[in-house]
Symmetry: C2
Subunit: 246 residues, 2 copies
Amino acid sequence: MPGPETQRLFDTAKALQIGFYLGYAELAHEDGQLRRFNTAITVDKAGKIIAKYRKIHLPGHKEHEPWRRFQHLEKRYFETGNLGFTAFQADWGHAKQGVFGMAICNDRRWPETYRVLGLQAVEMIFIGYNTPVHNPPAPEHDALSNFHNELVMQAGAYQNGTWVVGVAKAGTEEGVEQIGNSIIVAPSGEIVGACTTLGDELAIARCDLDLCNSYKNTTFNFARHREPEQYRMIVERKGAIAPEGD
Amino acid sequence: MPGPETQRLFDTAKALQIGFYLGYAELAHEDGQLRRFNTAITVDKAGKIIAKYRKIHLPGHKEHEPWRRFQHLEKRYFETGNLGFTAFQADWGHAKQGVFGMAICNDRRWPETYRVLGLQAVEMIFIGYNTPVHNPPAPEHDALSNFHNELVMQAGAYQNGTWVVGVAKAGTEEGVEQIGNSIIVAPSGEIVGACTTLGDELAIARCDLDLCNSYKNTTFNFARHREPEQYRMIVERKGAIAPEGD
């Protein structure tokens, strides 16, 4: 990366002095093995890759399930990301550096994603997603796809006092309809920019990173208000276990 | 508890066969000390206290800050709850027991509250709150009070596949205006019942606990999809620490 297909993207962005986030299927040679990750990178205005993230929350299933209209085999083809939810400083040519983070698709539904980045003082999280409208095991969720998409990013932004930029690959791919609903969310949780079609579209917002302070220094002043000792179950338990009855 | 002021509430609820949740300032004699907690109890249809919770996320400040129009001294007068976020089985006279949990006021803004209860397979969380409209250190949040109130409870419900019932003490108390916006949230994150005034009001919804399964068994099947190893920072770090710059 960049390879022959993406070099032009890097060149054009550099010529226009625009940084970007790009998601791709990564083939890595690591520890003497060929490994596959669902990966995203952030590229600065000079065309330099400044951060890499490998998706942690792989959704779906591992085996072929013929009853589904389409398969969602991320758990089969990818390994769980091994780079952590790592925030990074980046300089976009302004007076002050900012703290940025990345997530991919299903990561955005998990509050832990935002919190681990929030604990690194993140000020803007980039999230790309390809989300089918249809959820085969729970078709009753279909009509709520955009609502859920907005809900998780708005809550993640507010609860961590950070900007969240969620960008969809929208429309139909290989016969699978995917949601659009790309949004730019302020640290208040308010949506301040959005795409409204399923075609190519550009959403623009002025994102002042200093607006994060209004939340990070008050309601979500973690150093004053968090109670980590009470959260141990979050790391000590994977699945849910009901309490004993009488 | 019940004391002279609350006995009538217990008696009436028992006569009507209605369970309830009640928040109060608790004076406890424990470990040879007089201790104060912000506490809530759940009482069953027979008038029996079946669970107690002591508020963990105490908001506000500890010292008198005269510049504020009113003080918010929970951190001064109460100790942090020492009973954990404990879910409990309860039988409301239906065929199946349910798993319930409690939280108080500011707890609802923290995704950890819902997640620790979610990891105990909670199906309904009761939350009482007294929330001033005005946030002295961040008056720019005032106009968003109801939006934030709904956002956190809707996200907590969806992300854990649980009902959330949030009940406000609304209106004006000691010159402080408080929000209303009591809501009943389904495991889908949808609001299915709500109060719309700041006066006494009753919201009713039929809450089928089995609707939780649609989320607990798919998108939020924790045993399949959570990655606790990646969440360690949530318990190992209290405040936010920014990454090093270049």
